[in-house]
Amino acid sequence: MSRGRGGAVVITGMGVITTLGDDLEKFFAALMAGRSGIGYFEKIDPRVAARVGGDLSSYSLEDCLRRQPGQVPTVVIDRLRRLVKSSPLSTQLNAACALQAFRHAGLFEASMDPGRLGHVLGGHNLTISYLLENARTFEEEPEFIEPLLGLQAWDTDVLSVTSEVLGVRGPSFLVGGACASSNVAVMTALDLLRSGRADAVLVSGAPMDLSSLLLQACVLIEAVSFRSFNDQPERASRPFDARREGFIPSHGAGALVLETEAHAEQRGARAWATVLGASCASAASRHAKPNFESQLAAISGALADAAIRPTDVDYVNAHATSTPLGDAVEVAALKQALGRRAWEIPINSTKSMIGHALTAASAIELIATVLQMTHGRVHPTINQEEPDPELGLDFVPNVGRPHGIRIALSNAFGFGGLNSSVVVGAP
């Protein structure tokens, strides 16, 4: 549908870096196969109780860059190499992921006005691990901290490096919403495009570099899984299952190019999906505890923004982190928001395979949603061994299947009562 002077908004490019693959084909194949990308964090302090997770700390950026097809100009690859050389993991992954989305959108061949290209980065607190390493160096000798820490200590550096690599000159900023950050970034990009402030917007779902400190802090508030599955990490992320006991943190990045339909048509770009609507709501609470009313407001708000009825929704990519309370409250909110439709459609959890990529999660999951829509298949929710009788919906247990999707809903809920939903439609 057309909203505002910018008109309808479409997704023309996507890129992912996850433990299940760093290109769209590999990623989707692994999701459909029900593979787990969960193992152990290599570089986490052994005293931290939660070591299970999706680890990309040894990810080879060089391998990724070497595999980029010819559409990426050498000068861009060289610029990326130079800029991220001494940068934190978050900056490296974000730039490489955004480069993929740019290539997928065909923007390297396009002659678009860079001032009409925006960049909204979803995320914050992205480089805690890097900052802690420097804090330790500082304790030994202040002169020997990283020379560019004065720039890199700011989360904006993750955005700015990517913008410099890709030559983005339009409206650019960060939005933060904890684990809802990327959905909020999509909503913000949608608003920029609808309002006519930009013709295309790169949305970076930025990765966090996941420090020992943060993981231990999540153990203290009992948000992560650290009890039953330490010897079988691939079984630890089990959203909706009766034995779920907390989320599994993971590294990961997702990037999307959103564009006005008119601009995409003008340059002959393929639209992979239409962004129909988005919404976010606050629970007015600093708590990590999920809030039914606020989640309901986010879901209903997105459906209203998209001007669709609950019965129009064909599929839900749930936030579903594998926490006992979180999954139950989300299912209750979906039942309330969608009514009977909630029992008729598949609802799955990408996190069952890749874990929770936190600030990047909803960008990756929106990409998973669009890929399922494109291929007419839904991926499984793995580790479904003991159904939770309280939940009782179709979570696509363990095996994916063909399923046509015209309209999909993707949820993302963050600590501090920050809840968001995005609705996309087939192009």
């Binding site: 050389k85 000798e141 002169e143 020997f144 020379p147």
Partner: protein, 90 residues
């Protein structure tokens, strides 16, 4: 550490960080900013990395007194002497 050792470390970092130095001869009379079109951040990176690798500190307040690479080498040499005599570099 000899002046040659310090110069080698500095050249290695310059080649690594400042693209325009690659394949070129680096002389003591060269200026990083003027002769190699390095930007100010690259200069900071070269000097900081060299200081860390050589475990030598040059007072930041004095760095802008170096007009060329030779001056910088003088400062590294002086910092070593200063550290050995226990007076500290900063």
């Amino acid at each position: 550490m000899t002046r040659d050792d310090i110069f080698s470390a500095l050249k290695r970092n310059m080649t690594d960080i400042i693209e325009s130095t690659r394949g070129k001869e680096i002389l003591e009379s060269h200026r990083m900013l003027g002769d190699f079109q390095a930007d100010s951040l690259e200069v900071v990176e070269v000097i900081s990395r060299t200081m860390k690798q050589l475990k030598t500190k040059i007072p930041r307040t004095r760095l802008n007194e170096a007009k060329n690479i030779g001056d910088l080498l003088d400062m590294f040499m002086a910092a070593q002497v200063s550290a050995r005599s226990g007076s500290g570099a900063s």
